[in-house]
Assembly symmetry: C2
Homo-oligomer: 332 residues x 2
């Protein structure tokens, strides 16, 4: 397998956590890794880098930089070079915990769109109490959408779910404010019949109609389709909501010596739960619709998260996901 | 004070929980109550109803009935009669745990809009880990919105926050997908400058720009403005997310005798937390912009929730909220 190109300079904890996680993925899972970034900064971390490839890139796109102009201007940035490595056949996938918009723009501009794809979309895994995560897309690539794009998001998400995540027959739902097909805003009401008309069996999936916000964190649906504005709001609302509940819990646990002692005993039980719901643990988002595997990790990604991302990227490459996506959106 | 007209027939637990909660509010808080519904059904519950007024209404609008046509057709329904009681000066407020859309339609059609209000909006309190709830509006009345409506939602929400909820100088935020004013979908990008241009000082509030999903459950903002589609999705997403986390916690607590024992000791600490985040405890939503106080409770409202709703309604009536709302939206 060609190496996974990791943007070593992107992320709140870059380059330290990025490099550490990548090296661990290379060592423990035998995944070939290409670190893209400034050799001096990478070398200064003091790791033995002999087991990974280094791809020099002199510039770094800041986390809060304007995505489009940064990607156009900073041609020697780690993000742009990582995308080029995939385009040029030097890497099999790219992974970044950096500026999400810039990662998207770099992938889109350098790799290009899969033929037939109107707009690539970000597919984000949302944890559920049990079972596999729900796939939410678009989680932020396209703030304003056409009804037809939502159908394609559903197709891309279904194939990603089936081929990339091993869901046997993904159930695709349209995010709305009521289960009836007459419920929703204008976009959703126009998209519903288009989604209902598509032959989901052809891509090994099914359309289950509208779903609601309360279904997002359940196992009642596998792929949730939304415009990128609503999807991004949902994602961040859940992140904030879960964080608030966990913070309140920890507060309560520390409220008295008795509570602390009892909580201590619960730790082994609560830790896996925490890991399941923690934003940092739930896997990377994937930009679906570009000609290559592009994984986008949370900005706050730890070394663990990066290691998981590299392994996840390699697994996706092995499924030949992009070929399957292309087949799904190809005109009949 | 004129009585609070309670739709005794609306809600998953109607009429039993509705009547029980209303009677307790009347007894414990000395709030005058008018139960609107079928006298036979109310009498059959076996309570002493001598302390409250009974307003006969022969019909019941089902929880899943189509709102507009039900309200038009079922003129003797408890919901329509409750709204009429307010309109006719026989009640000071209405409260229903029934069909939300129908409650909205009944209030709108019978009470009418406050002069100058384009579209009434549902303001829903969202719990935060500490401090008062955040007020989210529109939480579902208007799936498709004009930018100007969002400005008015902000005005209505700010006055509700200051006068109705006692927030000294409400901070109003526009829900978007980035803090910069250039971030958002077309609606939000058009609404932002309109919100920024309004003289918030005139109504004792301030505009703090865009906020994101992750701010919803924090104390960083008091009033969150959104179109009714996004607002409703946010509300239901949080309900579902918190429910999922709590269910997973309870599962973990029951996973072994040791865990159960430790959890038992934490109960006194966790119970107030549970009450804070439980959908049933966080207060009723208010339909802002109609000529009267109209509170809408969660369909699953318990007797406790209804008691709180009645007391909340009486408190709002005493603030003369509707007059303040009318002053805020009046043309300069």
């Amino acid at each position: 397998m060609l190496p996974i190109a990791v943007d070593a300079m992107g992320g709140d904890n870059a380059p330290a956590a990025i490099v550490e996680g990548s090296l661990r993925a290379a060592a423990e899972s035998d995944v070939p890794v290409m670190l893209v970034g400034q050799p001096d900064a990478l070398g200064a971390l003091g790791h033995d880098l002999s087991g990974v490839e280094i791809f020099e890139a002199s510039e770094v796109i800041a986390m809060d930089a304007e995505p489009g102009s940064s990607v156009r201007r900073m041609k020697d940035s780690s993000l742009v070079r990582a995308a080029e490595a995939v385009r040029d056949g030097n890497a099999s996938a790219m992974l970044s915990a950096g500026n999400t918009g810039a990662a998207m723009a770099a992938a889109l501009l350098r790799m290009g769109r899969i033929k037939g794809v109107s707009r690539p979309a970000i597919a984000t895994p949302i944890p559920t109490p049990s079972g596999p995560p729900t796939i939410l897309l678009d989680a932020g690539a396209n703030a304003d959408c056409q009804p037809e794009w939502l159908v394609q998001f559903g197709q891309l998400g279904a194939v990603y779910g089936r081929v990339g995540c091993g869901i046997e027959r993904p159930r695709v739902g349209l995010l709305s404010i009521g289960e009836e097909e007459t419920k929703g805003n204008a976009l959703v009401k126009e998209a519903h019949p288009l989604l209902a008309d598509f032959d989901w069996g052809r891509i090994g999936a099914e359309f289950i109609g509208n779903v609601e916000g309360r279904d997002v964190m359940t196992s009642d649906v596998d792929v949730i389709v939304a415009d990128g504005f609503t999807g991004n709001v949902v994602l961040k609302t859940l992140e904030g909501g879960i964080k608030a509940v966990i913070a309140a819990l920890l507060d309560a646990f520390g409220s008295s010596p008795e509570a602390a002692e009892a909580a201590e005993k619960l730790l082994p039980t609560l830790e896996p739960l925490y890991r399941r719901f923690d934003a940092d643990s739930i896997g990377s988002a994937m930009l679906l619709g570009v000609k290559g595997v592009c994984l986008i990790s949370h900005g706050s990604s730890s070394a663990d998260a990066m290691m998981n991302g590299v392994v996840q990227g390699a697994a996706l490459v092995e499924t030949d996901l992009v070929t399957h996506l292309a087949a799904a959106v190809a005109p009949d």
